[in-house]
Amino acid sequence: MAASQETRETETTRGTGDEEEHRNVVQRWASGSMNNPNRTYRALFYIVAISFLVTTLFPFYWLLMLALTPSAKLTDVGLLPNGFNPEAFLTVFTKVPFHVYMFNSIVIGLFTTALVLVIASLAGYAFGRFEFPGRTPLMLIFLAISYFPPAAFLLPLFRLFTANVTFFSLPGGTTVTSPMLFNGPGAMALPYTALFLPLSIFILTTFYSQIPDGLEDAARVEGNSRLGALFKIIMPLSAPGVATAGVLTFIAVYNEYFFAFLMTDGRAQNWSTIVWGLLSYQGRFETSYNLMAAASLLGVIPIAILVVVAQEKIVSGLTAGGLKE
């Protein structure tokens, strides 16, 4: 098939060889592509592919150019920096403790991910391997949570986390109120856990349901307890699923804006995340555009590494979550 096509191609070129000299490059290409439509498709494909890559990557390139431009020359930064001064990558840490904000983001991300994985493993195991009354309604209710806008949880949670909700009053006038979690990691990690649990539960349910029943029985016969079988046999087998759920949860938490913005007062020592870190360049230092660019690039690094390392997991997790029908 390919060989016959090649011969056809050579024949055509031989046949039109005399006229070839009188034509320019574009005409030659045009006649070639009319004779062979696959070549046109291939060329078109590369044009489209390259334009997609340029549009997705250009903003990062431009941020780098902006970050490298000295503070005094920050006007109309185009394809090249106006001058060269990488100092912005150091100044970001002295003007604002950006490393602390990044540390907070990463710690809250890891903490939430751990919490989500433990809870989702247990729930996914229950949904994936047992039939029990109320299984389908419970699963639907869990999934429905992820449809609600974060704004619908905000007001009561804000009051709960600022110690404004009274649980009960003891005789003698003392009241027991909710703990003060505002300005702490819990005020973000708890809502994140609820928001991002459904996807992880779904991914893990799919994984657990694919493990053959016999393995579990064998583990039980060998004298493992129920939980022992779960943690020693079933969990290791579904490690790819756990990793997928973990990567997606971490990215989602690192991404999150709404609660990160509203559940702290913005100071680095109060567990504020990169959301506040970056916004503080926007507010206090009116002209530090190069610092904003440098800090943005630094903030992307952890997530970029994760995407490069775990791209297969991300793709499989998102498509499993997306194609639940």
Partner: protein, 324 residues
């Protein structure tokens, strides 16, 4: 069920492991679900319920509770009939100024951005479905914007459209597309926010559509080739109908996401320039109008529920259409 576990617990305080072994399968499943149910109860179900009850009270701007007398559905009636508009930081729904009222801004943003995300996502998926050298890296490049934190996404487009440092404002202004200070204009800011959203989330569409493309039986294409179908005919008669369910699922997820937009607007412009529904909740909350904020939040959830059900009906149509 509840009495069973209750008595089981009191009997086996000494050996919880023994107690777990004695549970029936259903009881063990409920036990495994308990941590999830507790978390959902405290940080999801209770807040939702509380938001709803808050929305049934009057606004009180002072005092520790900031909630007045029980008023039933009055907040909803006033909000939906437009009587509440003047009391809110931005109108909820005012068709005479579509660019500064929350419902219209949210709908314009959602429809326009999801439309372009679907087109570009489909394009990206078709590219990633091909075999070519460097496919792995192309995929990384296309996924990367999706993983970028919202605040950094906002920062990028804030800087790109900053009149002094950005290089885009001047040429676009001279073409008459945007004003000289786009971040202060509602129309221009909405446009920038849409462009930023399309840049970030087309990749999400692309990945879900790609999964749909890769599940298509390749032998169908051989049949098409034998019967002499052109590439376009192949796409129209095989690819499009078979991938449509995936496209709808991707659109559903993106629509839900777009209707909650908040952080992007807050970074690129401001909530008073481009007031989305989530913006209106936060702004009413900051203005101590707790009941109004709760009402807007619940109406937003209701709007999302309506959209979700429309998609599900549409999906059932496409999926149940037999050969289609």
């Amino acid at each position: 069920m509840s009495t069973d576990t209750g008595s089981g617990r009191s009997l086996s305080l000494g050996s919880p492991m023994r107690w777990i072994e004695d549970l029936s399968d259903a009881q063990f499943a409920y036990l495994l679900l308990a941590p999830g149910l507790i978390v959902f109860g405290v940080v999801a179900f209770w807040p939702l319920f509380r938001t709803f009850t808050m929305s049934l009270h009057a606004d009180v701007l002072y005092g520790p509770e900031r909630l007045g007398a029980f008023v039933g559905l009055q907040n909803y009636v006033e909000l939906l009939t437009g009587q509440r508009n003047a009391a809110l930081p931005r109108p909820f729904l005012d068709l005479s100024e579509p660019l500064t009222s929350a419902v219209t801004v949210t709908i314009i943003f959602t429809v326009v951005s999801v439309f372009f995300e679907t087109l570009l996502g489909f394009g990206q998926a078709l590219v990633l479905d091909q075999d070519f050298t460097g496919r792995r890296w192309a995929r990384v490049a296309i996924i990367l914007p999706w993983a970028v934190p919202i605040v950094i996404q906002g920062m990028i487009f804030y800087l790109l459209f900053q009149p002094t440092v950005g290089f885009l404002v001047e040429p676009l202004h001279q073409l008459g597309l945007i004003s000289a200070t786009p971040q202060a204009s509602s129309f221009d800011s909405l446009l920038i926010v849409i462009v930023a959203d399309v840049w970030k989330t087309s990749a999400f569409m692309a990945l879900i559509i790609l999964a749909g493309l890769q599940s298509i039986d390749r032998s169908l294409y051989d049949v098409a080739d034998v019967s002499g179908a052109s590439k376009f005919e192949r796409f129209r008669t095989i690819t499009l109908p078979l991938v449509l369910p995936s496209v709808l699922v991707a659109m559903l997820f993106r629509t839900i996401g777009a209707m909650r937009v908040y952080g992007l607007i807050d970074t690129v412009s401001s909530c008073s320039t481009v007031p989305s529904l989530s913006c209106l909740v936060v702004q009413s909350f900051s203005a101590s109008r707790y009941a109004s904020a709760a009402t807007v939040a619940f109406v937003t959830a209701g709007l999302i529920a309506i959209v979700v059900s429309v998609y599900i009906i549409k999906f059932a149509d496409v999926d149940g259409g037999g050969g289609f």
